[in-house]
Symmetry: D2
Subunit: 402 residues, 4 copies
């Protein structure tokens, strides 16, 4: 029972971005019953039996490259996008300041110029070897755990998308990482290695490489880490993974699927750099082909339109042929607040990962596929089937309990 | 082998409407390889093992209340809606004329004035008792089977939607039908009873009552009929049964779901009569509530806009609340040709029903739920789960074979 | 110069509704430079020369049937619809309270049960003859003018839409109003007569009858009142009056124009009553036919969906035929906050009316047609042409000045 | 009267493309009363008095770079896009073959590789100097006029969009064209010079440079040519020039205007080449800024999606701020057949140009601005105002007649 009361840490990489800020504020707002736990699927009946760690046991910390606070970030979201009400921010001020004290400076190694330009926090540009960075970042996590006497820590990467990089040749095999390989890694992978080093669970919510290199995964597997990724499935791609199975199950041939996304948050500035955008588009374009089993014409764009703030608006035009070759069309517009859609997924990923770690599970948590655009180790892209896999896991895990 | 070669009958109630016409033309066009079998799910890999009766074994007949021919009806669709190309109609003319010879006059008993006004075929208004109509309609089906030496017949109701009627009290129990009860039935139920009488499989593709009265179902069960219904799931409602599970699985609360449908085919004229429309709207509004488990504000309209012809255009606006109560919106427009979406479902329902009858199955074919808005005997409304049930059936049925 | 400094009164009928509240708050927020004067067309270059009365000379009062305050109403809008920020409300609290002191009880005579149910203010249901109501309401306006030493008052009706009523026979001619005629008038016309009695300018921003009865207009003309109406053109209808001229000028034939409106503010509750809705729909359906010169199929719906709050969302589907009869489609969705769109029009109507009264103009102010769905005395429905008429007026009026 | 009966020539550059084919077929189909003259604005009442040359006096010829015929091109449009019915094509076959006999080989000088790859007609790649090409092309036009005893010829460029080119320095002034300057011109300008040489009226319906170089325009002016351009305003840009004035006239600030266009005709293949696309986008992005008088965020994309054929589908998202800075949105989707929208504009441009030439007008025909995205010599971009200018011209021109 004493152990039950022990707290758990959620360590956010890119802590004061829109997602991290919504997570930090939201956990407290729900705890204080200022709002219902909407978006948190762990609260749905089938998952109750899993006994996920309740919100009041979570402590938040993280790495950040910008000089800011959770409160300032929250106010900025309210002013630019009309989300996170001033009343809620005021009521949670004390907690947000506690969280601020757990923020440490991150790194922008190999993140490209657009992310680099945002980094104004002390120590962010310090000259360090890759190994030096890993050690320092891991230290931050370990001392966070010590300071708060945490039973466990889950690291979730919610930082901006890094430029797309060819995997260094050495990383394609499963060989150990040498110093020269390390130097070619970008920040997301250094954070992943730091999490492994610190023995924390690890979730890559971004399209960046992170843990997804054979040598890095091998190290995670060796160290018995539970991990999963990548690229949270929040909006347009979730729609794709829900609609494409419908076309398949009706034998309607998708001729073309065009998706245009516009939005104006900080993530948008980063994705406006074509190098960073490529990483994202690769991740968004996959599900349709995977589900249909053929390659319709596809087109995906993501573009920065400042005025929209955090409100991502997507227009998808799906042109399909039915009986006798008749051409028809489905169009949808999705108007969702990106950070607000992502935040509850991040919380639940942390809770499911903590539960898996508690059970001694290691390796990729394939049952979490429904949370990701490119789920590691999973080919199934149909959303409902991915969700069914999570339900099955819940049944099995609940029964397994001694 | 001789049995294999025996033909099978598809008897369409409302034969020369848009759906029936597309079925008749489409079967031949696919047989002649003028077009691919798009929309026919029996051609998908998981169903190949079921050995559904191939298209070249099907013969078409049916009941109709209007004085017309398949060719005239097909040309009308081309002229008003730009579907069913003149080349295809010309190439299939011979077959369409054969089908015409199998058309017999139907009935408009208790169908209301709007359907009544369309009925200009000889004998349609003949004075007959309900029992007399059932006998005559059953005779039509039986002589069709005899004339073409058919192994089996499946009756599919694709006629216009009848006015909504309170079920006569007597029909609510499972008592036998007395003459006075029969007189209160509307045409769709007389057709159903005729199909039962003739020993044919029966599918109700419309929202009309048809077989869906306890006493009628009991007679079908007594006679060992395989049947299913009701209201084919072709467009907007299919979308609902695909999207609602997504909101549920993300714990996003649907606040309101508004759906406006506009279209201009003959079905539209009938639905423009508020009595007939009520039957339809009841059927369209159910799935969302069933899947979500609560009642969001809902609004469904179906309206006749002549200029659209067979092209049903639906706009759905789904307003939902996510994390921290944030309100977001999904909108879609569905632009599909109604008859063209329905026709392949009708063909496959006939093939699956024939297969079930061949296997000696009787009663409601619950595994066909994914084809219907209001599937008989099935509460599951999630499209993917309904489809999974069909896949399971296919695996089981294929294995059961001796 | 002394006269220049004299204040002007804006008397709002239905003062604490969404529109009135936005007007009251907005005038002060712009005065305090908390926000820019967006939406106020009097600030556009072509109208500067008109020397409309500046915002700091306006004093606000009005009639209301509910027991509420401007601040409470503003907070309700923020909570339900996310408009009118708490910061703005706090900054303008003093002014709002001043406005509250100028609110008097209105009447719900002949307003139907839906509006009636909302009326909980003291004296609203007092038994009075029509003439008694007119005298009392006029007294309220006159004492407001006296108390604040106002140079002029403009009365603007922004109350809920009344049920559609057949005009009493007597009102069709231009005869004087007798007591028995008066008793059949609904509240909007009593307010209009009170404004006339008080010598105030009068604007009917609603679809209710108001001043638009021959005998009432004659009294206004006799008394030298400047007036205009009716039904402010804020959203979907403005779009119609902009798009229909395009189709006409390209000789594209509009086959059908379908418009579905959903929204959830108090006005929505009133319009959910079919009696009140009819008044509105008549007003929305006119412009398309007037501009095109023929009658395409049209369909307009307005429906109450609570979750949307003040955010009116309209979907319009315009089906048209071009060269060689080819059918094409334009669809739009309009997502606008109704009160926020209306408020600046109300302010400018008051300022333009004050200017006209200052110049000694009487009768219908036809140059204000671009503000209305059903402009009194004007057939031109093309928005741009209506706006050009306003520009012409501005040029002429500025030149006329001595 | 004898003169009245004389025929007039319409010489199409890029004759057998979608636009040219629709023009050729449509003129005959309307003459034969197979269809109404929809889309032809010369048939509207205000233009009747202009006595534009009736359709039965027009003869069609043109330049083409592909080996094809009008009938083949028309069938291709029917098969790929479902427009131009087979019945219509069959009924007009004789006329189309007559038109075919007036087709001559064009040129692809400086048109870039994408257009170059399409050119398979004899003589298209003949080695000739620019002056040689101009002489040859002019000869084609002159002998067409002679052969058919034409009173006048109007040349309309409806060829694919050429790559964007920096204007050669020499062309910026109004100096005469030297041989070395000529060699840098692309095909569209050679065609323009050939039209000038042949004394024909000239219309540039494309975004290519054509006549729009100072030295070329000077030659046209010297030779007394009536001309106009450029880039026909058919769909999304027409919408912009209609909607932007609405925002301006309501003092609503457009924050961002995003427009995504997808389509799949031959023009689409050409625009898929970024060099050609740039020419187009420059033309589409102008009107919004010009009308509003400030620069909102804008984004325009045009992308090739083969499955759509000639059906251009555009999604525009307009984000705007109103009263109190409230952000709202208008979205539209335009679904139009590009060639079918363009063809009647081409016919009427030819008729208006012929009328101007008949009246002895020379230079840019500014009254035709409403037909163009980038009207030569006209800054007014509001569609209704441009149209009003055409109405004024019609009144004046009709009165001027002796």
């Amino acid at each position: 029972m004493a152990r039950q009361a022990q707290n758990i840490g959620l360590w956010l990489v890119g802590a004061c971005g829109g997602v991290g800020t919504s997570v930090a504020l939201g956990i407290e707002a729900i705890r204080r019953k200022l709002t219902e736990p909407l978006g948190l699927i762990g609260h749905l009946p089938p998952f109750k039996k899993l006994e996920l760690a309740p919100l009041d046991r979570w402590v938040i910390g993280g790495h950040e490259i910008r000089r800011t606070t959770f409160e300032a970030a929250a106010r900025e979201m309210y002013e630019q996008s009309g989300v996170l009400s001033p009343e809620m921010i005021a009521a949670c001020r004390g907690w947000l300041r506690q969280c601020d004290r757990n923020i440490r400076s991150g790194t922008v190694v190999n993140c490209g110029p657009t992310i680099g330009r945002m980094a104004d926090r002390r120590d962010v540009r310090r000259k360090r070897s890759a190994a030096g960075w890993i050690a320092a970042l891991a230290d931050d996590i370990r001392s966070f755990a010590r300071r708060h006497r945490l039973a466990r820590v889950v690291v979730v990467n919610v930082a901006s998308t890094e430029p797309h990089r060819q995997m260094p040749q050495a990383h394609k095999g499963s060989k150990a990482l040498r110093a020269e390989d390390l130097s070619r890694l970008s920040a997301s992978s250094l954070y992943a290695l730091a999490a492994i080093e610190a023995g924390a669970g690890y979730i890559n919510f971004t399209p960046s490489t992170g843990i997804d290199l054979p040598a890095v995964r091998r190290r995670a597997d060796d160290r018995g880490i539970a991990y999963m990724g990548r690229d949270g499935k929040t909006g347009e791609t979730m729609m794709k993974s829900v609609l494409a199975p419908m076309f398949a199950a009706r034998n309607l041939r998708v001729l073309s699927w065009v998706g245009h996304n516009i939005f104006g948050n900080r993530d948008g500035i980063v994705l406006d750099d074509p190098r960073n955008k490529e990483t994202k588009i690769r991740s968004k374009d996959q599900p349709v082909r995977e589900i249909l089993g053929y390659r319709p014409e596809t087109l995906v764009s993501i573009e920065y339109v400042k005025s929209l703030g955090d409100w991502k608006t997507a227009w998808d035009h799906i042109h399909f042929a039915g009986f006798l070759g008749t051409k028809m069309a489905l169009q949808f517009t999705w108007h969702g607040c990106d950070s607000i859609l992502a935040a509850p997924l991040v919380i639940e990923l942390a809770r499911f990962t903590e539960r898996a770690a508690r059970d001694g599970r290691t390796g990729p948590l394939r049952h979490l596929a429904c949370f990701f655009k490119s789920p590691m180790g999973v080919r199934e892209q149909s959303f409902v089937r991915q969700y069914d896999a999570l339900l099955e896991y819940a049944d099995a895990a609940a029964t397994d309990r001694p």
